[in-house]
């Protein structure tokens, strides 16, 4: 009890906690301030004039931000569907089919992460150019999916591996075909993990900048691209508001993920 009252006990902890909170929330506070700053000039610590003029501009029906937001959501949805279409069968095979090169295959999906982004995406853009995929939604979806498959395959593999083989065999045993057993037993049990992977893919696609910039710009203007050009053009208010809009789905989905992704699923990743 004495130790708790001791300044030496709580002071370092309080400082650490404050520093942590500052690092997390400091930039956010700055964003919020910028989004409502109608006039903010150096060397003022705070904006000299507040207002929602820029919010109104962004949310105007003809405003680019809303258009970009819907495009971003559309691309993220297509990317998620594509990743699920590939990762569910692939992850099932990796988790259940006793593949010989299992570890190697899982590693291959990590490769896009291992190399520096820029050269990879510049080369992708060059290759896509010959297929007329540059500047198309399809091209952006493909490059987002290549990146998203890492999450979806790894997490879905873990989700399938967490399911006892006997559960599926029990269904086969009383007359279900392999596919029926998968559809009625394995897939519903893996659903939380797969949903979590889908959310990650969706969020990654929504936030993705580099690949979209090289493959999609200028025809495909997603929200992060809009944010970049606004910030580069010195329009900090528009950039701040765009960033805050991007935060909303992330926060919502993170709350969902926390419910879905249980520790025992995560523990199987890479097993």
């Amino acid at each position: 009890m004495m130790a708790r009252a001791n300044v030496a006990w709580w002071l370092p902890r309080a400082i650490l906690l404050a520093a942590f909170a500052f690092f997390v929330f400091g930039p956010l506070v700055n964003l919020v301030l910028w989004s409502v700053a109608e006039a903010w000039f150096w060397p003022n610590r705070l904006p000299s004039q507040y207002g929602f003029r820029f919010w109104e501009r962004v949310f105007r029906p003809e405003g680019q931000a809303m258009e970009s937001l819907w495009l971003s959501i559309w691309i993220a949805s297509l990317t998620t569907l594509l990743c699920l279409g590939v990762s569910i069968p692939a992850a099932w095979a990796l988790a259940k089919a006793r593949l010989r090169w299992r570890a190697l295959i899982l590693l291959v999906f990590l490769l896009p992460q291992a190399f520096p982004n820029l050269p990879v995406y510049i080369n992708v853009a060059r290759i896509f150019f010959t297929f007329d995929l540059n500047g198309t939604v399809m091209g952006v979806v493909l490059v987002h999916a290549a990146h998203g498959l890492v999450y979806s395959i790894w997490i879905a593999t873990a989700a399938f591996a967490a399911i006892d083989d006997d559960l599926e065999l029990a269904a086969r045993n009383i007359g279900a075909s392999g596919f029926t057993a998968f559809r009625t037993v394995t897939l519903p049990l893996a659903a939380p993990g797969i949903a979590a992977s889908a959310i990650f893919v969706f969020l990654e696609s929504l936030d993705e900048f580099t690949a979209t910039y090289f493959v999609g710009a200028p025809e495909v203007r997603t929200l992060p691209l809009l944010l970049f050009s606004a910030a580069a053009g010195g329009n900090m208010q528009i950039a701040a508001i765009t960033a805050l809009i991007l935060l909303v789905p992330s926060v919502l989905f993170m709350l969902l993920v926390e419910r879905f992704l249980r520790a025992e699923v995560l523990a199987r990743v890479g097993r």
């Binding site: 006997d166 065999l169 029990a170 269904a171 086969r172 045993n173 075909s177 037993v185 049990l189």
Partner: protein, 342 residues
């Protein structure tokens, strides 16, 4: 048997299974009659579960044949074997309620809903699970889960019922009752049943015939009484409770603690008699269990009265309880103990 057996005869010929380089089953052959209850008995790692899983089609044999009712099912997928299994872990689906679980096999057979509901009700009654249809496995007791697993397998009216230690996760008290229920159920349904267990008493009570497995080979097959009275080798004798082993001539005599006797002075007995001394005596509930030293060896014997330590006694084994085996008895344990002695 009071009912006409509806089950199917099962044939296993020269079945071999290997996991990688480890040979788990060595050319096992066995014929099970229609409606017969056979127990596969042995310690863990003897291959009994592997044998059961290859009948179910979960394990691919490297050689041999499995037939059900004359039909070769060796290469058939699990869903086309007519053999339903009750898993040791029960393998109940956590997301499916009791009614759905029991009706699952009927739904995949394309039965209509009303017929499935009627059959599920019948199974719930049969297994005393009335009113639990909407429960999830997590909301059931161990005994109830075991009965749901049983119901799921029996609902499809299987030709062969495969039981993988279905009672090992139950309390000893519950188990006793379940054994008799299972036996009654199997007989009234006339179903062919293969039951894997490491519990010799369970095998004795349930089975028409017991198959004792030793390291992937069949050590002995026979009705419980025959195995009890005439174990074919030291391994079977040891597994069936004849754990005492005393050297006799070129071989050993094996007997159960409850069948050995401490003889009164001058008493004669038809069977081997050893001179020994009491090393230790402990109360074992209703009787005393004495450890008797005979030369280098020791034997446990049940006696009605307490014996003082270091008393010289004569230990007799009645002829019918004395199982004699050659010194080269094909038991690993005996080899090991000889190696230690040498």
């Amino acid at each position: 048997m009071e009912t006409q057996p509806r089950g199917t005869p099962l044939g296993i010929q020269g079945l071999a299974v290997a996991y990688g380089r480890t040979q788990v089953l060595h050319e096992v052959s066995l014929a099970v009659g229609a409606g017969e209850f056979v127990a596969l008995l042995g310690p863990s790692g003897c291959g009994k579960t592997t044998l059961l899983r290859s009948i179910a089609g979960f394990v691919a044999p490297s050689a041999g044949r499995i037939t059900a009712g004359g039909r070769d099912i060796t290469r058939e997928p699990p869903e086309r074997r007519g053999a339903a299994m009750v898993f040791q872990s029960y393998a109940l689906w956590p997301h499916m309620n009791v009614a759905k679980t029991i009706g699952y096999g009927l739904a995949v057979r394309g039965w209509d809903k009303a017929r499935i509901a009627a059959r599920v009700e019948e199974m719930l009654r049969l297994l005393r699970l009335e009113g639990l249809g909407q429960r999830l496995p997590a909301q059931l007791s161990g005994g109830q889960r075991q009965r749901v697993a049983m119901g799921r397998a029996l609902a499809v009216d299987p030709e062969i019922l495969l039981l993988d230690e279905p009672m090992s996760n139950l309390d000893a008290r519950v188990r006793e009752g379940v054994r008799h229920e299972l036996r009654t159920l199997q007989q009234s349904l006339g179903i062919t049943a293969i039951h894997v267990t490491h519990d010799r008493e369970e095998a004795m009570i349930l089975a028409d015939r017991i198959v004792v497995l030793e390291e992937g080979r069949i050590a002995q097959v026979g009705p419980p009484e025959e195995l009890w009275r005439r174990p074919a080798n030291a391994y079977v004798a040891d597994f069936l409770g004849a754990t005492n082993r005393l050297p006799l001539g070129d071989g050993v005599v094996m007997f159960r603690p409850e069948e050995g006797r401490v003889l009164a002075p001058g008493e004669t007995l038809d069977g081997p008699v050893f001179e020994g001394t009491v090393a230790f005596c402990a109360y074992a509930g209703g009787r005393w269990r004495a450890t008797i030293r005979v030369d280098e060896a020791e034997a446990l014997v049940d006696v009605p009265e307490r014996l003082e330590a270091e008393t010289a006694v004569r230990l007799g084994i009645p002829r019918e309880a004395a199982h004699l085996f050659g010194a080269t008895a094909p038991s690993r344990e005996s080899h090991e103990s000889y190696a230690e002695a040498g």
